[in-house]
């Protein structure tokens, strides 16, 4: 790498990041504004499910597998390995979770799922790190392999077992879940008052303290723990150095291969954990196609989160929320249209202030079209709500992709003893 390259990033837009760095107070202010907006929209449309404890609770649950897949993506990509195989590793997680879970209980199922996912990660590491195979190619192959292997294994292991079949496992006992006693009831009564903002906040808070699975708590701990490990320890610094400049890391005696292996195997383990949540907590059994592309959405959440744990948690929360509303039916997503209209108007104003007339006009047209859609219909067809999270992903990335900064050597093949 010559010095001029150092000073001349290929995509100059990637340099923007400094202006993106949000300070704590601004972040809190933004969250508060969003909550306020949400409660106003809730009050206007009368769709209580927008902020009901049920929705929030469901969103939290749906965010966990996405967040775990995203965390898997974070570990791998921080070490410089793109992991599109998260979906396949997650599938392995669901299958092993169901298979071990129905026989030996949910905790064993959880461990098996983690091991199953890690196994997928190991294959990815062998292909990409040891053999220098293109990361996307290997990931796609692992997704095919994960789907195929579990179908074969299901036919072998679940057919003829009571409650099982060629595409699903017998029932798995659930993991324990927790409710903060007292608080939940109090919040519930406040929520029922339907007071703007207050009831909304109560509903959201209640959703977060009621019936929370042990695995959700573990997941939250893992996100925080990942931040600590990756940004506060020597291990994390070395791991991240493999994603930024592996040649430099190697020249300082860091065993790049070892760290990449560790990261990618951990990545698979996180995806497997996400799979375990789907099989054990969300559905209480393994079912074919259970992941429904959540591995990909997890990856999108991580990109949305700018390769940071906090950001990916926010992304997972957003996608979990749209997913939860989707399950509540067309009515709730319909109300969400209004929210998007308001946000788009906000973006338009921002663009006007920044003197970007074209962007502003585009935003305004989009807002007008959505508003028209909102006013002209009563519900969004459920075939559309099905892809709400995916469309959100696409829109968010279209707006944000250029401001994101991925690890400098992410996705590039690395071989020991080579320059650049």
């Amino acid at each position: 790498m010559t010095t001029t390259e150092l000073e001349r990033p290929i995509d100059p837009k990637l340099r923007r990041q400094s202006s993106l760095r949000l300070s704590g107070p601004i972040l809190l202010l933004g969250v508060a504004a969003l909550l306020l907006l949400l409660s106003v929209v809730r009050a206007l449309t009368g769709v209580d499910s927008l902020t009901s404890s049920g929705t929030v609770n469901a969103a939290l649950g749906l965010a966990v597998p996405i967040g775990m897949a995203g965390l898997g993506g974070l570990w791998a990509e921080r070490a410089g390995v793109v992991n599109i195989g998260l979906e396949g590793m997650m599938i392995l997680g669901t299958w092993f979770g169901g298979w071990a879970g129905y026989q030996w209980g949910p905790w064993v199922g959880l461990v098996a799922a983690v091991i199953g996912g890690a196994l997928g990660g190991l294959i990815h590491a062998v292909a990409t790190v040891s053999f220098g195979v293109d990361h996307i190619v290997s990931g796609v192959a692992i997704n095919l392999l994960g789907a195929g292997a579990t179908r074969y294994l299901s036919a072998l292991a679940f057919e003829g077992v009571e409650g099982g079949g060629p595409t699903q496992s017998p029932r798995v006992a659930n993991l324990p879940s927790f409710t903060v006693p007292g608080l939940s009831g109090v919040l519930g009564s406040v929520e029922d008052q339907r007071i703007v903002v207050v009831s909304d906040l109560a509903g959201i808070a209640r959703g977060l303290v009621t019936n929370v699975s042990a695995l959700t708590l573990i997941a939250v701990a893992l996100v925080i723990g990942s931040f600590w490990v990756l940004w506060r320890t020597a291990f994390g610094l070395r791991l991240r150095s493999c994603g930024e400049n592996p040649v430099a890391a190697e020249s300082l005696g860091v065993n790049v291969y070892r760290y990449k292996y560790a990261a990618v195997v951990a990545s698979g383990a996180f995806a497997g954990l996400g799979g375990a949540f789907l099989a054990i907590v969300a559905a209480s059994l393994y079912r074919e196609g259970q992941t429904g592309g959540r591995g990909y959405i997890g990856l999108a959440a991580m990109i949305f989160g700018n390769w940071r744990p906090g950001g990916l948690a926010a992304g997972a929360g957003l996608f979990g929320y749209t997913d939860a509303l989707q399950l509540r039916g067309g009515n709730a997503v319909h109300a969400l249209l209004l929210l998007v209209v308001v946000l788009l108007v906000g973006v338009t104003v921002w663009n006007l202030l920044q003197r970007r007339p074209v962007a502003a006009a585009t935003g305004l047209v989009a807002a007008a079209l959505l508003l028209w859609w909102f006013l002209a219909t009563d519900a969004v067809p459920n075939q559309f709500t099905f892809f709400a999270p995916h469309l959100t992903t696409l829109l968010v990335l279209s707006l944000a992709a250029q401001r994101l900064r991925m690890p400098a050597a992410d996705g590039q093949p690395y071989r020991r003893g080579q320059d650049r």
Partner: protein, 514 residues
């Protein structure tokens, strides 16, 4: 430190054979040799990045074997790489401690690291803020970070690989001052270079490498630069120089008020104007990263202009695509030949088509004319002395010098009127260097307008009819190449000229404001 009988083979080549060097404690020992003589491979062996096939290395009389850089570090050997090995997105502190982090209970102890860095920084006069991110640092600072990295690991032997390649003469002097300080502390420095005057200035002992092996060890007090050159390449070094002026008064390439902005809105190229006439070579001098690359890309149509105008033989081409400009007769030798000038995995004849894929003999209508492209590639290989066994081998199999000769040959084949050459002789051997200089002379004699961007001050002074200095995107000075010295040019490049203007202008108005 002692090396004995080091031999290293790569497929098809022997990079080093029978290398013997003895380095004494507390000295600066220089290793000189031209590009491709095997210096880099030797350095990698010394630092454990590659293992020798034969031979022994000993440090302080003990025989050592480095399987990885970690082993070399443990033995007290540190390396300052020519291409900085820094993670741009990390802070200075993170870059320095990486691999030998102080920890307390698994946690990286940032404050201990900061104290240690400040300590070393102070005692060797290396002034770097540990919390800045490397991407915000300039070239000189980055090099100090590299040295800091090595010292932080307690190295007693420092290897510096072509450390002056990116520095202007003034910065070189600073570096040499740092080296003397290190020497005074009892450290040993191994200094790799191909710049003979610098080596003579700083070294206590000089070992010459030629074609992969050590040919002599000499005392800088008793040897002269020409004698050293003789040892290094077996003949005199080729000198960059122009013969009679061929400059006409026909403006061929004119740039007016050219401004290019970066993503943050900073002007990378700021209101630049110049005219190159047919038969003229205009050199642009400047510390790297001062907008030369952006200027070249703007002229080629690769980078959008914020303001200004580029005209070719009187015709405004500002809104033309890169392809149209090339078709109109602009030849382009890019600064990074591997990334911008070649398809490394493709055969030579496809590389001949590259950049000329709309023009005969390469195409007929919408079709690629493979036979004609092949035969024309053979012509280029012949005429420009590209050493290759054939035109079907991949470009990656050629040496840097031969790759560059192919590129120059290709760009001279499209009936060009203008040639944009960015760092045309960087990293090539002396043979190729001489050949490329000759091609620039031929181009000039044929009436081309040549824009020459380079970091090699000798090359700029020797090969330019007119010489301009770029600083922070602006052309700050016009220099007469017949009278300027590299030191004066270096001052102008760092902006020191305007402060000490009198010193430089005394000499026949060598440096004047534009």
């Amino acid at each position: 430190m002692e090396l004995h009988g080091i031999t290293k083979r790569f497929p098809g080549v022997i990079a080093n054979h029978d290398v013997d060097i003895a380095v004494h404690r507390g000295t600066v020992h220089a290793i000189v040799g031209e590009n491709g003589a095997g210096k880099s491979t030797l350095m990698k062996i010394l630092y454990g990045m590659q293992r020798p096939d034969e031979g022994t290395i000993s440090v302080d009389g003990r025989s050592v074997s480095f399987a990885s850089p970690a082993d070399a570090i443990a033995a007290g050997v540190g390396m300052v790489h020519q291409h900085f090995m820094l993670a741009d997105n990390f802070t200075v502190l993170e870059n320095v401690v990486l691999g030998s982090e102080p920890t307390t209970g698994g946690r990286l102890d940032f404050s201990a690291a900061r104290r240690r860095i400040a300590e070393i920084s102070d005692s060797y006069g290396l002034n770097v803020d540990p919390y800045r991110r490397v991407e915000q640092l300039g070239v000189g600072d980055r090099q100090r970070v590299e040295i800091l990295k090595v010292l932080y690991r307690g190295a007693r032997i420092l290897i510096l690989d072509e450390p002056t390649a990116v520095l202007v003469p003034q910065e070189v002097d600073e570096l040499f001052a740092n080296l003397r300080e290190l020497k005074a502390e009892g450290l040993t420095v191994l200094f790799i270079s191909h710049k003979l005057d610098e080596v003579l200035k700083v070294a206590d002992e000089i070992t010459v490498i030629r074609r992969g092996t050590t040919v002599a060890t000499v005392d800088p007090g008793t040897v002269t630069a020409p004698a050293l050159a003789e040892l290094m390449v077996g003949s005199e070094l080729p000198a960059p120089e122009l013969r009679d002026s061929t400059v006409t008064d026909q403006p061929m390439l004119a740039v007016e008020g050219l401004t290019v902005r970066g993503p943050e809105g900073r002007a990378l190229v700021d209101d630049v104007s110049f005219t190159i006439h047919a038969g003229e070579i205009l050199g642009v001098a400047g510390v790297e990263g001062n907008g030369q690359a952006e200027l070249v890309e703007a002229i080629m149509g690769i980078r959008p202009l914020e303001r200004g105008r580029v005209s070719l033989d009187g015709e405004d081409v500002s809104h033309w695509s890169t392809r149209r400009r090339r078709e109109a007769g602009v030849g382009y030798v890019p600064e990074d030949r591997q990334r911008h000038g070649l398809l490394l995995d493709a055969p030579l004849w496809e590389n001949r088509v590259l950049g000329h894929q709309t023009r005969p003999p390469n195409v007929r209508g919408p079709w690629i004319d493979r036979a004609a492209a092949r035969s024309d590639t053979r012509r280029i290989v012949e005429e420009y002395d590209v050493r290759t066994p054939g035109i079907e081998v991949a470009a990656s199999a050629l040496s840097g010098g031969n790759q560059q000769k192919l590129i120059v040959g290709r760009e001279m084949s499209g009936e060009p009127r203008v040639l944009i050459a960015a760092h045309p002789t960087r990293g090539v051997d002396v043979g190729a260097q001489a050949a490329i200089w000759e091609q620039l002379r031929v181009a000039r004699a044929e009436g081309l307008a040549v824009l020459l961007v380079s970091a090699d001050l000798e090359e700029l002074i020797g090969m330019s009819d007119t010489l301009r200095v770029v600083l922070r995107g602006r052309l700050v000075a016009e220099v007469d190449p017949r009278h300027v010295t590299p030191e004066q040019l270096g001052s102008a490049m760092t902006g020191a000229a305007s402060d000490t203007g009198t010193a430089t202008t005394t000499r026949a108005d060598a440096v004047t404001a534009p």
